[in-house]
C-alpha cells in the first residue's frame, strides 16, 4: 500500500473522520460509504424515456417507461397527466414486473392434436400453417347466399375473441382483415 494509498485509506476510515470531522458519534457524515455518496436514481442514467399509458384498466393513467441498454429499467406514473397526476394503482405500479416477468412467453409453442406436451415451432412456419388453416376452414364453411338468394359472403367456421387491451390500430386491422375474409364471428371483451 503506497503512502498516498495509506493516507487516503486512513482519511476514508470513519473512525478517523469521527475524530477529525463534524460527526464525532459516527452517526451521519462520517459513516457514509463511497457507494452511498455516489448513489443516483437509475432514471437519471436511462437512455430514453417513452411516454406511455397503463395497460390495465380504462382510467388511462400516464406512464413513463425508462429504458437503458435496451431494457426497461423503470415504469412509473407520468406527473404531467391531467388524468392521473403521476399516480398509479398497484397493477399500474407493477408494469415493469409485467413486461419483464419471467413467466412471459417469448417462443412460439405448438400442440399437435392429441399430444400431451408442447413443441417449439418457428414463427414464420406457424404463420404459414395458420394461413392455410384459415383458407381451409373458410373454404369448407363458406356461405355465398341465404335461402332466398340474398348475399351472405361469410364463413361461420372461424371465430375470434379479442381482449380490450388491444390498440385501436390493431383492432382496425383485425376487423378489416376478418371482414374481408368473410369471418363474421369476431367478438371482444367489451361484450363480456
Amino acid at each position: 500500500m503506497s503512502r498516498v494509498g495509506l493516507r487516503t485509506f486512513i482519511q476514508g476510515w470513519p473512525v478517523y473522520r469521527q475524530l477529525t470531522g463534524t460527526d464525532p458519534l459516527g452517526r451521519g457524515a462520517a459513516a457514509q460509504s463511497d457507494r452511498s455518496a455516489r448513489l443516483s436514481a437509475r432514471t437519471e442514467t436511462a437512455d430514453s424515456v417513452a411516454r406511455s399509458v397503463c395497460p390495465y384498466c380504462a382510467v388511462g393513467c400516464g406512464q413513463r417507461v425508462y429504458v437503458e441498454d435496451n431494457e426497461v429499467t423503470q415504469i412509473e406514473g407520468d406527473p404531467d397527466s391531467p388524468i392521473s397526476r403521476g399516480r398509479l394503482c398497484p397493477k399500474g405500479s407493477a408494469s415493469k414486473s409485467l413486461v419483464t416477468s419471467p413467466l412471459r412467453q417469448t417462443k412460439v409453442r405448438y400442440r399437435r392434436p392429441f399430444a400431451t406436451e408442447w413443441e417449439d415451432l418457428e414463427l414464420d412456419v406457424a404463420l404459414d400453417m395458420i394461413a392455410d388453416r384459415i383458407l381451409a376452414a373458410r373454404a369448407q364453411t363458406w356461405e355465398d347466399v341465404d335461402g332466398q338468394g340474398r348475399p351472405l359472403n361469410r364463413t361461420l367456421g372461424i371465430s375470434s375473441l379479442g381482449g380490450a387491451t388491444l390498440d385501436n390500430e390493431e383492432n382496425y386491422l383485425i376487423k378489416k382483415l376478418f371482414t374481408a375474409m368473410g369471418a363474421l364471428q369476431i367478438e371482444n371483451q367489451a361484450r363480456i
Partner: protein, 873 residues
C-alpha cells in the same frame, strides 16, 4: 371505484375534500365504501327498485330541475294513447309478442308517430345486439312531436313516468332491496338537494353494472334521474362508466364485434340491408333530425378505406364484399356452436375465456372440439392449456390424448413494445410511444394480422373465386419499419382518421367526409385525431400548462369534446345556468358558442334558432336541443325506441333469484336471451319449485390487486403475493348457519359447476331482510384460474348463460348457489355432485324454464299489427 379504478378515485377524494357527499351502493362493503360518507347495502340484482324509488321521490315531491327538464328532455312530449304501462300490464308493456318473447314498439311511439318505429319484431334486433349501435347515435323518431309544456297531460312523459314508478315507495325499496328506509331517504334527499342551477351530482358505475339481464335498463334509470335533476352535459354531473380494460371504449368504437363496423355503423343484415342504399337509409333514417343525417358519407368513406381504388360509386364502394348477419353471432352462441362442432378455428387475442367468460366449463368444452386454436398472449393462460390442466381434464371430460384441437401459442408484444393508441373510459385517445423491441418471437397484433393478410393474399393470388375478391382487392399496403417489419401504427391511425383520396390530406372533422368516394375514413367518429396531419392523440401538454379541461392532452372523440351534450350546461337562451357551473355558453357578440370545451353544438347556430317545418338532419335541431344525436334533440326520459325491453326501466328479478318479484307477476325480464343448449341451464327461481336447493345469492367482482381473468396479475409476483388465494367472503351469520370456519375451506355449487375457496368471514357482508325473508349474499373475486404463480378455481364457472336483450351481455353479477364447508370433490365425483344438485333442483339441461312466468297475463298482441312486421327468416 377504489377497488377497480383507484387512480380515478383520487377525483372522488378531491370532491370529498371540497365538501361533496359520497354515497356508495354495493352488495358488499368495499374499499370504496370505506371512504364513502354513506354506504347502502343492496341485494344484488335489485338496482332498478332503488333507483326507481329515487325517480318516484323526485316526481312525487316535484324536486326536478324544472327549467332544464322542460327545455332539454322529452318530459312534455305526449305518448301514443295505445301505450300500456307495466303497471296495467302486470309487468308487460303493450306490444309484447309471447311467441318471439319480444316487443313490437309501435304502441310506444310518441302520439302520431305510431308507424315510425320501423322496428317490427325486435327479436331480430335482440339477436344483432342492436342496442350497442346507439352507443354513439340516438335511436330514430320522426320530426315534430306533440308537447304539453304544463306537464299535466295524462299521457305526457312526465305523468307516465310518475305513474310508472308510483309504487316504488321507500317501503317498497326496503322490501325489495333490503335497504332500510332512512338510508334510502338519506340518499334520495342528498341527490335531489344537490341539483339545480348551482349544483350538480355525478353517477359513477363500473361496467359490472351492465352484466345483468336488465343491465341496459339499470343505466337508463340512472340517465332518467340525471336528466330529471339537470345533471347531464354539465361539469360535475353526468354518468361516468368505468371500464375495466385499457381500451374497451376503443374496442367498441373500432369494434372487433360481430354486429358493428367502425364508428357504430351496423354490420349489414342479410334481410334488412341487401343493398348499400337500404343499408345507409337504415342508419340515417331519412327525415330524422340529428347528426346521423350524413351517414351515407361515413359509410362510403369506410368502404373506400377498406377497398381503396376497387371501391367506386358504381359498385357501391364494394358494399357487396361485406359479410351479412343472419341472427345472433355473439361469443356465447359461438361457444355453443363450438361444442356442437360447427366451428373450425378460434383466435384468442389477449383474452382468456376459460376464466373470464361465464360458464367456464362450456368455454373449455367448446375449445376442446375445434380443429385449431390460435392464442396470442403475454402468458401461458388457461385458455391455451385447457387440453392439459383444466378442471375438465381432472373430471375426465377432456382426455388430452383424445382432444383433437391443434393449438398454436404465439407470444404477444406488451404495451411498451409496440406503439399505438388506447381509448380510455372518457373517450380519450392516448398515443403510447414504443420503449423497446418485443423479445424473441413476441409480436404485436399489428404485425401478426398485417403479415397474416399478406400471406393470405399471396396464397390466393390469381384466384378467380368471387369470395376471394374481397381479400385480393383489400387496401392492404401499409409502410413497415424496424427489425421485424412492424407496420407503422401512425399510418393506420391516419387511415382511421380519414384522408382525401386524391391528395392524401388528412381530414380534420367528420363533416369533411364525402359520399362520392373522394374521401376514405376508417372510423368517422375518430375523424380529427390526425387533424392538420398531426397525431393529436400523442399530444402531451402538461396539466400544469393548461386549464382543468386539459384539451391539449391526447384527443377525445368526437372532435376532442370532453363533456358530451355540453350545450345543456347553458340555459335555453345560451346563458350559463350559474357562474359556478359555467362551462359552454353563447357569446352574442362573437355570434358563436364558446367555453372551456369544444361546444357540442353547431358553432354558429344561435339559441333562438328554430328549424323550418319538415327540416331533417342537423338543420332539424333547434337552438335549444342539446341532445344533438337524438331524433328529437331532447334527452329521453322515455325511450320510444332503441331499447328492446321497454321504454321505461322496470324492476325484474335476475334470471336466478331466491325471491319472488314483489312488484309484478312476471318474475324476470321477459325479453332476456336464453340458450336451450344441453350444456346450459338456469337455477329455478320462484314461483318455480326447488329454488331453495340454491338458497344463497352470490355475486362476483374485482380486487384492486388483480386484473380481470388474472392473466396479467396472477403471473406478476408483486401482485400475486398481495391476493394469493381464491377466497369467498361470507357474513358471520351465514358462517354460523352453514358451518363455515374463517380461513377454512368451502365449496359452492351451482347448476353448472362446483368450485372451492378459502372462507373469509367478514362483517362487510350482511344478511338482508327482503320481503319478509332473510337473504344471504356471498362474494367471490373472479380472477383465479389454474395457471400462474397463484391459482384457484374460477368463480365464472358457476354462471350459466343468460344474456340481456339489448347488447347480449351475460348476466354474471348475480346467481344463486349453495355453500358447503370443506373442499370440493375431485375427479368424476365432482360431476356426480353437480348432477345431484341438478336433479334435486329439477334442472333438465337444455330445457330452461319458460321466460314468461306462468300465469303472467301478457297483454293481447296488438290487433292491427300495424308495424312493418318483418319476421326474422
Amino acid at each position: 371505484m377504489a377497488e377497480a379504478h383507484p387512480v380515478g378515485f383520487q377525483w372522488v377524494m378531491e370532491a370529498k375534500r371540497r365538501g361533496a357527499k359520497v354515497f356508495h351502493v354495493d352488495p358488499r362493503f368495499t374499499r370504496t365504501s370505506a371512504l364513502a360518507d354513506s354506504y347502502l347495502p343492496i341485494r344484488a340484482g335489485s338496482d332498478i327498485a332503488l333507483l326507481g324509488g329515487v325517480v318516484r321521490h323526485i316526481l312525487h315531491n316535484e324536486l326536478d330541475f324544472r327549467e332544464y327538464v322542460l327545455a332539454y328532455t322529452n318530459a312534455a312530449t305526449i305518448v301514443s294513447e295505445r301505450f300500456v304501462d307495466t303497471e296495467d300490464g302486470d309487468g308487460f308493456f303493450s306490444g309484447f309478442d309471447p311467441e318471439t318473447g319480444s316487443y313490437v314498439q309501435d304502441s310506444w311511439q310518441y302520439a302520431g308517430h305510431e308507424s315510425d318505429s320501423g322496428s317490427g319484431h325486435t327479436a331480430q334486433e335482440r339477436d344483432t345486439a342492436a342496442g350497442l349501435r346507439h352507443e354513439s347515435h340516438g335511436a330514430q323518431v320522426g320530426g315534430q312531436t306533440v308537447r304539453d309544456e304544463t306537464l299535466q297531460h295524462p299521457r305526457c312523459v312526465y305523468q307516465i313516468l310518475k305513474r310508472h314508478f308510483a309504487r316504488y315507495t321507500p317501503e317498497m325499496v326496503e322490501r325489495v332491496c333490503g335497504i332500510p328506509r332512512e338510508k334510502f331517504l338519506e340518499l334520495a334527499e342528498a341527490w335531489t338537494a344537490n341539483s339545480g342551477r348551482e349544483r350538480t351530482g355525478v353517477l359513477i358505475y363500473s361496467v359490472g353494472w351492465t352484466q345483468h339481464s336488465v343491465g341496459v335498463q339499470y343505466i337508463r334509470t340512472g340517465a332518467i334521474i340525471q336528466l330529471l335533476l339537470g345533471n347531464m352535459g354539465r361539469p360535475g354531473g353526468g354518468i361516468l362508466a368505468l371500464r375495466g380494460h385499457a381500451s374497451i371504449q376503443g374496442s367498441t368504437d373500432i369494434p372487433t364485434l360481430f354486429n358493428l363496423l367502425p364508428g357504430y355503423l351496423p354490420m349489414p343484415h342479410h334481410a334488412d340491408h341487401p343493398t348499400f342504399d337500404e343499408w345507409v337509409d337504415s342508419i340515417r333514417h331519412p327525415g330524422q333530425k340529428g347528426f346521423w343525417g350524413n351517414a351515407r358519407a361515413y359509410a362510403a368513406s369506410l368502404l373506400k378505406a377498406y377497398w381503396g381504388d376497387a371501391a367506386t360509386p358504381e359498385n357501391d364502394f364494394c358494399y357487396g364484399y361485406l359479410p351479412r348477419m343472419t341472427g345472433d353471432h355473439g361469443t356465447y352462441q359461438q361457444v355453443l356452436n363450438m361444442i356442437d362442432g360447427k366451428v373450425r378455428g378460434y383466435f384468442l387475442l389477449g383474452q382468456n375465456p376459460a376464466v373470464g367468460s361465464a360458464h367456464g366449463r362450456a368455454q373449455r368444452l367448446g375449445m376442446a372440439n375445434l380443429d385449431w386454436l390460435v392464442v396470442r398472449d403475454l402468458f401461458m393462460i388457461e385458455s391455451a392449456t385447457f387440453w392439459r390442466n383444466s378442471p375438465e381434464v381432472a373430471t375426465g371430460e377432456i382426455v388430452p390424448e383424445q382432444c383433437r384441437t391443434e393449438v398454436f401459442f404465439l407470444p404477444a408484444a406488451s404495451h411498451v413494445e409496440k406503439e399505438g393508441t388506447f381509448t380510455q373510459t372518457q373517450r380519450l385517445l392516448q398515443w403510447r410511444e414504443k420503449a423497446v423491441d418485443p423479445p424473441g418471437d413476441a409480436r404485436s397484433e399489428l404485425w401478426f394480422f398485417y403479415h397474416l393478410g399478406l400471406r393470405l393474399r399471396e396464397k390466393l393470388a390469381g384466384s378467380e373465386l368471387p369470395r376471394d375478391r374481397a381479400l385480393l382487392d383489400l387496401a392492404w399496403d401499409y409502410p413497415t419499419h424496424g427489425p421485424h417489419a412492424e407496420p407503422v401504427a401512425e399510418a393506420v391511425l391516419r387511415e382511421i382518421n380519414g384522408y382525401e383520396v386524391a391528395t392524401g390530406r388528412p381530414l380534420s372533422a367528420f363533416a369533411e367526409a364525402r359520399d362520392d368516394g373522394s374521401t376514405a375514413v376508417g372510423c368517422w367518429i375518430y375523424c380529427g385525431v390526425y387533424a392538420d396531419g398531426v397525431n393529436q392523440a400523442a399530444r402531451r401538454r402538461s396539466r400544469h400548462e393548461q386549464d382543468w379541461v386539459a384539451a391539449e392532452w391526447g384527443w377525445a372523440w368526437p372532435a376532442n369534446r370532453r363533456i358530451l351534450y355540453n350545450r345543456a350546461s347553458a340555459d335555453p337562451w345560451g346563458r350559463p345556468w350559474s357562474e359556478r357551473k359555467r362551462y359552454v355558453w353563447w357569446d352574442p357578440d362573437a355570434g358563436q358558442w364558446t367555453g372551456y370545451d369544444v361546444p357540442d353544438f353547431e358553432r354558429t347556430k344561435p339559441p333562438t334558432y328554430r328549424p323550418p317545418e319538415g327540416a331533417s338532419g342537423p338543420e332539424g335541431i333547434a337552438g335549444d336541443d342539446p341532445f344533438v344525436m337524438q331524433g328529437d334533440g331532447k334527452g329521453w326520459l322515455y325511450a320510444p325506441s332503441g331499447v328492446l325491453d321497454g321504454p321505461l326501466p322496470t324492476h325484474y328479478e335476475p334470471a336466478e333469484s331466491p325471491v319472488r318479484n314483489p312488484l309484478y307477476r312476471q318474475q324476470a325480464n321477459p325479453t332476456r336471451k336464453v340458450y336451450a343448449h344441453p350444456v346450459n341451464s338456469v337455477n329455478p327461481s320462484p314461483p318455480q319449485e326447488h329454488s331453495q336447493v340454491f338458497p344463497y345469492v352470490f355475486t362476483v367482482s374485482r380486487l384492486t390487486e388483480h386484473h380481470t381473468a388474472g392473466g396479467m396479475s396472477r403471473t406478476v409476483r408483486p401482485l400475486a403475493e398481495l391476493q394469493p388465494e381464491m377466497f369467498v367472503e361470507v357474513s358471520p351469520d351465514l358462517a354460523a348457519e352453514a358451518g363455515l370456519a374463517h380461513l377454512g375451506w368451502a365449496h359452492l355449487v351451482s347448476g353448472r359447476a362446483v368450485i372451492e375457496a378459502k372462507v373469509l368471514v367478514t362483517d362487510r357482508l350482511t344478511p338482508l331482510r327482503v320481503d319478509g325473508q332473510i337473504v344471504h349474499q356471498v362474494w367471490l373475486p373472479y380472477h383465479f384460474g389454474f395457471e400462474g404463480l397463484v391459482t384457484g378455481d374460477s368463480a365464472n364457472d358457476l354462471f350459466g348463460i343468460t344474456l340481456d336483450p339489448n347488447v347480449l351481455i351475460q348476466e354474471s353479477k348475480i346467481g344463486t348457489c349453495d355453500v358447503r364447508p370443506g373442499r370440493r370433490p375431485t375427479g368424476p365425483a365432482l360431476l356426480d355432485l353437480v348432477a345431484d344438485y341438478q336433479r334435486r333442483a329439477g334442472i333438465v339441461p337444455g330445457h330452461p324454464a319458460p321466460t314468461l312466468t306462468p300465469g303472467a297475463l301478457a297483454p293481447p298482441a296488438p290487433a292491427d299489427g300495424a308495424g312493418k312486421g318483418r319476421d326474422a327468416s
